[in-house]
Symmetry: C2
Subunit: 421 residues, 2 copies
């Protein structure tokens, strides 16, 4: 695999063919065996902690020499505790329900043909990701649990850490009798390999990018293979006239400030002109050390509000900044969300169930919420156990994507000699 | 819309924006109103028969002058009976169950958040098709029933017929109060408009090509918008050692010869070396006037068998021609299908249920069959009522795609003030 004369296309063709063979084998592996293999991989990660930390040290030193920021170095850093957490996460995936083999629906036709739609693995998943080495283990575990093969391509800054984590997992899954080639890692940091993955139609069935906006944008722009991704999470909270003021304040502050850097964080606050306590909302945000950029109405509520510029309504701050404006009723709120949102997660706060149901129906986002913080937009919080990503596309899977999103289905038809008239 | 200074991109941007507005409205239309509108469209098609036939005559005359083959002219031709059949098909779609609003699953989280996944329309569907004008009505009806807006782009040879059918349908649906712009037709035969549709990311949510292989190949190659399509239907029937000889013969002849031009027609026959009556199989095909191209073993069965060339195993004949070879057991059959198939429909004939289940599990095709003719690969035969196409892709929808495939889902979260810890 380290033949330096190989082009990126040749490398991916070789890895893709191995992955396809492994995928064929993985599709037949019973659920219990896949769970066993993940538990073995989890144990192997723990046992390999010293080796992984050694590899990580090399990445950290190279990173420091290359001038990585301290935030990036912190994300890269692995220690015993972080490796234990990674191993735990892999064990947790082993405990999730396996979607493979589930019968989605079935029917008997008048001619006696018996039809079933049965869940089967997608096949070969490509994961392209940055910095945090835990993605190596998380993504591989989800792909394996759902019977897929995976090709991992992590960031160059974490190459040695990722390879060490990958090697530990492979030791575990091969002990359990699963094919080593079900989990492969691109062994080079040549950026051209990413391009080869993105063009690998027929070799890779779906690409999942995990990382910052520039990575996701590149993937979406260049990919010929289908992509499961979200680019922006410009999430809105609309505080309706009939919202309970205490609830509205708590939800708004939590939606923005609990963690500002996640895609489910609120970026825009829409306040109904008929809502009785707008000052308290805005002041609660300001008091929580959030910058507020407001329209004219919002600026009148508090001197600390800065004027919003047109671009603010389309900005995912991922920071302690919020854009806030007044709207005249739900139609204007929905029109604002349709014009500026990213179809990720949008919420209404109201005590009026009929208004809430209208909003939930009409707002065209992957996740729509009533009287809850947009920070709940997360596969774990939704009970999916873990997520491979959040999709803002409309096809295949939408919102938090976990094991089911890594499957497709086949039609199984059982007859007793039927021919078509 | 007929402004000649418009570029194809401007035309599609305008039509796309109108379609998006209509889609927003359509998503909220109750099922009964959509059904009513389709019945009105069906009635309007009948009432407009004379106008449609007049428009069709213009297409036929232009086609004859342009040297269209008699087969193509026949596919293009409309008369009272064909228009009645088109109107009936639209009425039948009105009677299908509407997937929109179906709750796929639901859960209550420990924190009290109530979650549902609810089916919603995909949005804006683009249909790119050739010759048969009935696709105009069929595709529009399926898109409307499932709450979508549609942009139709038919073949230039049927432009007047398609416009007349479109106009009749729009009269019906607007009478029923639905937006006219839910069904739009590209008013020109400029081929550059197809390219603009294929690049219309954000304007069109999915493209469905309906037509010959060169059209589908162009669409798959150029599209930046997701495509729902199959390129080839290289379907196999594997006659296992334990197949009942009478059943095997009837299934094989039906799978190949009932209609040779459909994508579910068998193209390759795989005969197990342990199957006791291979001559009868091959002779039944020859006697049914099918050309048989065989490997050495098959050629020994009958003088009329021609030698198969390597390309034969990868050819979709869509004609009274079949490639036939012997295989040594199921593994070789599955390996042949994996190497040469198109993941459309593949069948096994056997009296051994355990062998059958192994085949159904291991064969990685959209449709896998046991003891039935591959000619059943059809949405109508599967009880879906009608199909927008058959997908050999693995994402979103696989096999026959009907109303459900034209929907996605949203996550609806109902809380009572939950904030995330």
């Amino acid at each position: 695999m380290n033949d330096l004369t190989q082009t990126p296309e040749m490398l991916i063709a070789t890895m893709g063919a191995r992955a396809r063979r492994a995928a064929t084998e993985m599709a037949m592996v019973p659920s219990a065996r896949k769970a066993e293999a993940l538990l073995a991989a989890s144990a192997s990660l723990r046992e390999s902690a010293a080796r992984i930390i050694l590899a990580n040290r090399a990445d950290m030193e190279r990173g420091a020499a290359n001038g990585l920021s301290s935030a990036m170095l912190d994300r890269l850093r692995l220690d015993e505790a972080r490796i234990a957490a990674i191993a735990d996460a892999v064990a947790n995936v082993a405990a999730l329900d396996d979607p493979v083999g589930q019968v989605i629906d079935e029917a008997v036709r008048p001619n006696g043909l018996r039809l079933q739609r049965v869940r089967v693995p997608l096949g070969v998943i490509g994961i392209i990701y940055e910095s945090r080495p835990n993605v190596t283990a998380d993504a591989a575990a989800l792909c394996l649990r759902s019977g897929n093969a995976v090709i991992l391509r992590g960031g160059s800054e974490a190459l040695e850490s990722n390879r060490a984590i990958h090697a530990a997992m492979v030791r575990g899954i091969t002990q359990a009798g699963l094919p080593a080639e079900a989990v492969q890692i691109v062994p080079t940091s040549d950026r051209a390999v990413v391009g080869a993955m993105l063009r690998a139609v027929g070799l890779i069935d779906i690409i999942v990018p995990r990382g910052g906006k520039s990575l996701v944008a590149r993937v979406q722009d260049e990919a010929r293979v289908p992509v499961l991704a979200h680019l922006d999470g410009i999430c809105h909270t609309y505080v309706h006239a009939a919202a309970d003021p205490v609830m509205a304040r708590e939800i708004v502050v939590n939606a923005k400030m609990r963690r500002t850097g996640i895609c489910g964080a609120m970026e825009t606050l829409l306040i109904d002109r008929a809502y009785p306590e707008p000052e308290a909302l805005v002041q609660a945000l300001l008091d929580a050390r959030c910058d507020v950029r407001g329209d004219e109405g919002v600026r009148k509520l508090d001197d600390r509000v800065e004027p919003a510029q047109p671009g603010d309504w389309d900005t995912e701050y991922l920071d302690a900044v919020v854009a806030a404006r007044f709207v005249s009723g739900m139609d204007e709120a929905l029109a604002h969300i349709a014009a500026h949102g990213s179809h990720h997660t949008d919420a209404i706060v109201t005590g009026d169930p009929a208004v809430a149901e209208d909003f939930l129906n009409q707002c065209d986002s992957a996740i729509v919420m009533w009287n809850a913080s947009t920070q709940f937009a997360d596969g774990g919080e939704f009970g999916l156990g873990a997520e491979i990503g959040i999709s803002t596309g409309r096809l295949h899977a939408r919102g938090p994507v976990a094991l089911e999103g890594l499957t497709t289905y086949k039609w199984v038809v059982r007859g007793n000699g039927q021919i078509r008239p």
